[in-house]
């Protein structure tokens, strides 16, 4: 289960059974799991910021099973919000009463889960791209919504994600207004969206974004659309909470 790049071979997402030792390599991050006793393992992770995370894992069985999978990018540098703010590097222009579908890249983090009795317990998480894991505010400072922020490139297809750094999501744009508009960003509660993986690639549920009139206001109505795929669905790392839905304004 490895993926060869031009410079270094990285491990893939997936389920790993550990009998004695396991070493996994990701961009800027190394994970080591070692048996240190009967039914006891040690877990250690080094990352690009020289952080060392160590944990002792007692197990009931002789083996240890873990799952490495992409997760929603909500944990680094700290869990502060459930919203994602994707700003397109090139705005998309939609003329009146038209629709378009684009694929965009969205950052991810990587979760490590302990598999035990068919339960997937979150053990650790990390990001391979801390430099691009930042916050942004949608709206005015006194009333805006704090989001995780990312500048997003338009991708060609679901296969176009950069391994371990981002996932691709489909954005279905529709303009029901009487005039054309540019769309430069999309804000959505990413905790409503599932992440899926195959080898080292990741995808996220689709976003439906409709520009429409709500009474007298022109709004950008954003909702999630689960996708049907044979890719493996990532477990949920964070505790799910109900979040308030916000309406985006039209640019």
């Amino acid at each position: 289960m490895t993926n060869e790049t031009s410079e270094k071979i990285f491990s893939n997402y997936g389920v790993y059974e550990v009998n004695e030792n396991l070493e996994l390599s990701f961009p800027n991050t190394e994970i080591k799991i070692e048996r240190i006793g009967k039914n006891v393992f040690s877990y250690s992770r080094n990352d690009s910021e020289s952080n060392l995370v160590k944990k002792i894992i007692p197990t009931k069985s002789n083996d240890l099973t873990i799952e490495i999978s992409p997760i929603r990018p909500l944990n680094y540098p700290a869990r502060r919000t459930s919203y994602m703010y994707l700003e397109f590097e090139s705005p998309v222009f939609l003329s009146e009463n038209s629709a378009a579908t684009v694929f965009a890249r969205c950052p991810i983090e990587i979760g490590v889960f302990l598999l035990h009795n068919e339960h997937k317990n979150p053990l650790d998480w990390f990001t391979c791209d801390p430099l691009n894991s930042r916050f942004g505010l949608y709206g005015a400072p006194d009333s805006g919504t704090l989001c995780k922020y990312s500048s997003s490139e338009i991708a060609e297809s679901y296969e176009d994600s950069i391994p371990f750094f981002n996932a691709v999501l489909e954005i279905n744009l529709k303009n029901e207004l009487d005039s054309g508009h540019s769309i430069s960003k999309v804000i959505f509660p990413i905790s409503d969206y599932s992440v899926y993986y195959k080898n080292s690639k990741a995808i996220i549920d689709s976003v439906n974004a409709i520009m429409k009139k709500k009474i007298t206001l022109e709004i950008f109505d954003v909702s999630s659309k689960p996708i049907q795929t044979d890719w493996a669905k990532s477990p949920t790392y964070e505790h799910t909470i109900d979040i308030k839905r916000i309406d985006m304004g039209v640019d």
């Binding site: 916050f135 505010l137 400072p141």
Partner: protein, 274 residues
């Protein structure tokens, strides 16, 4: 037999028409009243308090408890047939004396009521009282005072009157906060280049600084020895400690790494020729 016993109690007069029987009945009324007050407060705390803010719930709980006890006391006094008119007259005079002596207590009580109605801040908010030089986390708005846990870990009690009449700066009412610092660069340095390197260093090393709104740079002053640049960055409200105390350090590192001079005050003295 019981009736005979009660009859005998009713015949024993203590003072001013107060018999032992009426005192016994009054005692039972007070015990029932206190038990009822505790039960109602317990039920309120269990079923209704979770729907209210903690301060409001606590104060409503007190109001219910003491309200029932006062009503029980009034029932007790009326059932015993004690003539309270003398007590009321004496109480009135006593009340005036007490009123003068306890102005601040009453003032704190009234201020507390208005603070609970106005709710300028709620329990758990970080607040600053600039005129009192107090800042910290609001723990509790009580009947007479407010308790604040200062950022050094100590707890300070502030009378409600002081809180009510001072400015309150809420540090957590919005999701984001802004931190600022000022740095001076030498006159010979390129201002745009300095801003660029500072911007890059903040982007690289300060993960809590928001990308939107972007860090802002203002030329604050053409000072005696330096061009002063003000740097303003936004960050999540919880993460002030991750940004504000480190901002100057990051800025200095950016300027040092790129050989941009941060000047110290200098005076050039020209000696006049004869």
């Amino acid at each position: 037999m019981v009736l005979d016993f009660l009859q005998s109690l009713s015949e024993i007069e203590l003072v001013g028409g107060l018999t032992l029987l009426s005192l016994l009945i009054g005692g039972i009324i007070m015990v029932v009243g206190i038990t009822l007050a505790r039960t109602v407060r317990l039920l309120f705390t269990k079923y209704y308090a979770p729907k209210l803010s903690q301060d409001t719930a606590k104060n409503f709980g007190k109001l219910i408890y003491f309200g029932i006890i006062i009503i029980s006391f009034l029932v007790f006094t009326s059932s015993t047939g004690v003539d309270l008119s003398g007590l009321i007259v004496a109480g009135g005079i006593f009340g005036i004396v007490i009123g003068f002596a306890t102005q601040s207590v009453v003032s704190n009580l009234i201020s507390g009521v208005f603070l609970m109605l106005e709710k300028p801040a709620k329990q758990g908010d970080s607040i600053e009282l600039p005129s009192l030089n107090i800042s910290g986390t609001l723990l509790y708005i009580g009947t007479f005072s407010v308790k604040i846990r200062q950022f050094d870990g100590t707890i300070i009690r502030v009378p409600n009157e002081s809180i009510f009449t001072t400015n309150i700066r809420s540090l957590t009412s919005t999701q984001v906060r802004r931190s600022e610092c000022i740095v001076g660069i030498a006159y010979k340095e390129d201002i745009d280049a300095a801003i660029t390197v500072i911007r890059k260093e903040i982007r690289k090393t300060m993960s809590y600084v928001l990308m939107v709104p972007k860090p802002e740079f203002r030329i604050k002053e053409l000072a005696d020895s330096s061009v002063n640049i003000e740097i303003l960055v936004w960050h999540p409200r919880e993460d002030w400690v991750e940004v504000s105390p480190k901002l100057l350090q990051v800025v200095k590192k950016a300027l040092d790494d790129n050989g941009i001079e941060i000047p110290f005050p200098q005076r050039v003295i020209w000696e006049a020729k004869d």
